[in-house]
C-alpha cells in the first residue's frame, strides 16, 4: 500500500518538467556511456567471436542489426502509444513531449530494419523485396511513422497537435500485433520468430548472445536519444511560451 503510494508520487514528481530536466540531465551521460560500451562489446562479438552461419555464411552479420532495429521500431511505437494514452486520458504534461520525441527515432529504426532486411534478402532470397505479410506490415509501419511526423508539423499549436497525433497513433497501434504475428498468421517468405517464442529461442548461444547484446545497445542508444529529444522539446516549448509573452508585452507597450 505504502509502496504503491510511493510509486504514484514518484510518477507525479517525474511529470514535473523542471524535475524531469534535472533528473534526465544526470541520467543522460550514464545511459549514453552504457550504450557506447554495449555497442563496442556487441560489435566486437559480431566481428571477432560469433561464427558464420552454416547456411547464410557471413550474411548472418546483417541479422545483428536488422533484428534489434525491428524490435526498436515496435518498442518506440509502444512508447508513442502509451504516451498517446497519457495525453488523451491524463493530460500528462510530459506525455505529448515524449510522443513527439519518440516519432523520428522509431521511424529511423524502421527504415534501418527495412533496408538491412532488403540488403540481406537479395543474396539470400534472390530478391530485394517481396510483398509478404511481414515485409508489407513493416512498410505500413514506416508509413504510419511518417504520417505521424507529418501531422506534428501540420498543426502549429502543440497541445492541439498532440491530441490529433494521439488519435492517429492509437489507431495505428493496430499494426503492432499485425507486424509481430504476421509470420504466424500468414504464409510468409520471412522466417517465423526465433527468439521471443513459446518454447524458448532456437538460435545457438554463440549467436544469441551477440544478438541480445546488440539489442540492448540499440535500446540504450534509443533511450538516450529519446531522453535528449524530450529535453530539447521541453526547451522548445519554453522558447515558444517566452516568445509569445514577449510579443504580448511589446503589443501592450505599443498600444
Amino acid at each position: 500500500m505504502l509502496k504503491g503510494r510511493y510509486i504514484v508520487r514518484m510518477i507525479r514528481e517525474l511529470a514535473n518538467p523542471t524535475r524531469f530536466m534535472s533528473l534526465s540531465g544526470t541520467l543522460l551521460p550514464w545511459v549514453t556511456g552504457l550504450a557506447m560500451l554495449l555497442l563496442g562489446l556487441g560489435l566486437y562479438m559480431i566481428w571477432f567471436v560469433a561464427p558464420a552461419d552454416y547456411q547464410q555464411g557471413e550474411m548472418v552479420k546483417i541479422m545483428y542489426i536488422h533484428v534489434p532495429a525491428a524490435w526498436l521500431s515496435l518498442f518506440f511505437y509502444m512508447i508513442m502509444a502509451s504516451s498517446a494514452l497519457g495525453t488523451l486520458v491524463w493530460r500528462h504534461p510530459l506525455a505529448d513531449v515524449s510522443q513527439k520525441a519518440a516519432a523520428p527515432i522509431g521511424a529511423a529504426f524502421t527504415l534501418i530494419c527495412l533496408v538491412t532486411g532488403s540488403l540481406w534478402g537479395k543474396p539470400m532470397w534472390g530478391t530485394y523485396w517481396q510483398w509478404d505479410a511481414r515485409l508489407t506490415s513493416m512498410l505500413v509501419m514506416l508509413l504510419i511513422y511518417l504520417g505521424i511526423l507529418a501531422l506534428w508539423r501540420a498543426i502549429e499549436e502543440p497541445n492541439r497537435a498532440a491530441r490529433a497525433v494521439s488519435i492517429l497513433t492509437l489507431v495505428g497501434a493496430v499494426n503492432v500485433p499485425i507486424v509481430k504475428f504476421s509470420v504466424d498468421w500468414w504464409n510468409t517468405l520471412h522466417q517465423p520468430a526465433s527468439v521471443f517464442r513459446l518454447g524458448g529461442p532456437t538460435i545457438h548461444p554463440s549467436m544469441l548472445v551477440p544478438l541480445l547484446v546488440m539489442a540492448l545497445a540499440f535500446t540504450f542508444i534509443g533511450v538516450a536519444l529519446h531522453l535528449s529529444g524530450i529535453r530539447t522539446e521541453i526547451l522548445r516549448r519554453r522558447v515558444r511560451t517566452l516568445t509569445i509573452l514577449e510579443a504580448e508585452r511589446l503589443d501592450a507597450q505599443a498600444a
Binding site: 533496408v115 540488403l119 536519444l225 535528449s228 530539447t232 526547451l235 519554453r238 522558447v239 509573452l245 514577449e246
Partner: protein, 51 residues
Amino acid sequence: MTHTFFIVFSYALTALVIAGLILRAVIDHRAQVRALAELESRGVGRRSRRG
C-alpha cells in the same frame, strides 16, 4: 556482387542513420538553448529556469 558488399552497405547505412539522429539531436538542442538564452537576456523570462 559479393556478400561483403551487402554486409558493409548494411552497417554503413545503419551507422549513417544513427549518426544523423545524434547530429540532429545535438544541433536542435543547441539551437533551443541559444534561443532561450537570447530571450532571457532580453529579460523575457518569468523566472530564470534553465535545464
